[in-house]
Symmetry: C2
Subunit: 346 residues, 2 copies
DNA sequence: TTGTAAGCGTTATCAT
DNA sequence: ATGATAACGCTTACAA
């Protein structure tokens, strides 16, 4: 409640001096500084960020629009984001799109109305493609895509190197003797860049090594764990369980694994499983699931770094064309216990 | 970038009229309204929430301070919170305390500096007790504790009815024939209200039915899944596995369950497990873990409702002493598959 | 129905 | 080292 006015009254000093003390700027006579500090203490003064923002043209607010914060992967964005925010003393506004592209758009608009200094978007579908392309043209606020990118769009992007990931994973199982893999996916209307890149690349990497590549697609939208479970069950019942499966991600993999356990199928003796994402594998299953760690913390680190560079460039009116605006983070295989070492001929 | 000034220039109307159109308030001649709307469109006008807040003394910002957003339970706060925010068109600022009470305090102060209209706190320890008690006295902004309360503190609270939960769970296993339970906990410096209430109440409910109650405490701070795993392993190795265990929560329970599977112990034939919290049980384990659903969505619903009431009362200068400021939500048992039906005598 | 003007709590610039 | 003052973009009386 207390404002500069109150501090002025109490100390007899002027607004300017108060402001200098509060901001720790300029030259203030030590005894006056003390006086102000004491008054702040006495009145329980607290800066008003709203007023500060209006006056200074920066809010120290960053926006994070994700599609579903309860999603494990997206949750992993939060902590490194917080770390960044703390270091740069800004605050985070979050909003989730919840499978609704109109909401996603509204959320972005709301962030922009909040005058965020930067906006990070984990978009959920290609429905807002046109909108995003427009933002790219009109907005001065740095906007950065996380984990997913838009083909031929100017907006900066930081995500996982899925080509590299595919290569690593295929290498990993190849070296363990596997010559045939089955990729388990769901059917999406429009495939998002990470899934597309990874899947295509998996196939290419297999071909390049003369390995067999099968694809199974399950028509579903919902919970990946349940899909994985059902997928395994139906394959087991049909007696068509492959030797080596690549569920599209760890949720899928955990479901798959659990169904195997339930049906007495041995992992990895009867079936090898390699997940993706390192969601729960180290913690949720009796055997640690072999998977790929995407290193989301590094994604956020790189994204925030890029953000700072772009922001600085724009504030100083510098050229930003020499900034590297598409960043791909290289993750690594986590060995786990669910990929068997097999005889070279299967 | 466009402001009222620009709209004034473009339309020839005055600030007041512009404001009325933007806010959808007052009486504006339809054709002028159209004119303003068109100008907004043409200029790509977007309200500046900072300026609006400063002028109107409300920010439409709500603060959420949690201890660890990657924690499953805390994640569950987000979605219903978002739903509330959307309905009341406000935005959410989040901050996490990450096991550091100084940060927790800073986060709260930061929220208050952001002039949030309401602040929801999921506190992580009793370290800031004095600070919270002070806030209770000095702050006009509604502050509500989630899931945990402070003994004899004025601050409103909405959480789980852990007395009821304990009663339900003991009833559940009693009716299945169990007469002896072992409660698995970790050792905390200062026990937080929910854990304390539940544990004490579990014991009391057992006593009341003439049931045996054992307590095992594991000295640890960290990952509950791992603790559960280790706990089960050591009990199995020592040949001291009880017939019916109550790990303190679902993480603990999942770890416990997995260790059992790994060691060939049958669940629930050899050991019955009842978790708490409904974290992952329906999705992560071959057999669904019997547990208790705390209904966090209802917690948030009640909390936000209470917030609105308090806010309204304060804004209108009404008396708030007749508001019910401690709300306990009643969850329910989820039957699952991990509690055996046994002969009455064990 | 529209216009005017004060005010919100800061920052920043320019005198002093 | 300090004070005075304009400015930020809006809301909200109140006057016209």
């Amino acid at each position: 409640m207390a404002s500069y006015k109150d501090l002025v009254k109490l100390t007899g000093l002027s607004l300017g001096t108060i402001s200098n003390v509060v901001q720790g700027k300029g030259n203030v006579k030590p005894e006056n500084k003390e006086k102000v500090l004491k008054a702040m203490e006495d009145l329980g003064y607290r800066v008003d960020y709203q007023a500060r923002s209006l006056a200074s043209d920066r809010t120290n607010l960053i926006g994070l629009v994700v599609s579903d914060i309860e999603n494990v992967a997206e949750t992993k964005f939060m902590m490194p984001m917080e770390t960044f925010a703390e270091k740069n003393n800004c605050r985070i506004i979050t909003a989730t799109s919840r499978n609704d592209s109109e909401r996603e758009k509204r959320n972005c608009e709301s962030m922009l109305s909040s005058k965020v200094d930067g906006l990070f978007i984990f978009f959920e579908s290609l429905a807002n493609e046109a909108y995003f392309r427009m933002l790219a043209k009109t907005e001065k606020t740095p906007i950065i895509f996380l984990a997913r990118y838009l083909e031929g769009c100017d907006l900066p992007y930081v995500g996982v190197d899925n080509f590299f990931a595919a290569k690593c994973m295929v290498d990993f199982v190849y070296n363990r003797g596997h010559r045939n893999i089955t990729y388990l996916d769901i059917i999406e209307g429009a495939m998002l860049s990470p899934n597309r890149d990874r899947r295509n690349s998996m196939e290419a990497e297999c071909k390049a090594r003369g390995m067999g590549f099968q694809l199974f697609e399950y028509p579903t939208q919902n919970d990946d764990v349940a899909v994985g479970y059902d997928a395994a069950e139906s394959l087991i019942r049909a007696g068509k369980l492959p030797k080596m499966v690549f569920p599209r991600d760890d949720s899928f993999a955990v479901g798959f694994y659990n169904a195997c356990i339930k049906h007495g199928v041995r992992v990895p003796e009867d079936v090898s499983i390699m997940g993706f994402g390192d969601f729960y594998s180290s913690r949720m299953t009796p055997k640690r699931i072999s998977t790929f760690d995407r290193k989301f913390d590094q994604v956020i680190e790189a994204a925030t770094e890029l953000y700072l560079k772009i922001r600085a460039a724009r504030r100083n009116g510098e050229d930003e064309s020499n900034l590297k605006k598409k960043v791909f983070i290289k993750g690594c295989v986590i060995e786990g216990e669910t990929v068997a070492i097999v005889d070279k001929k299967c």
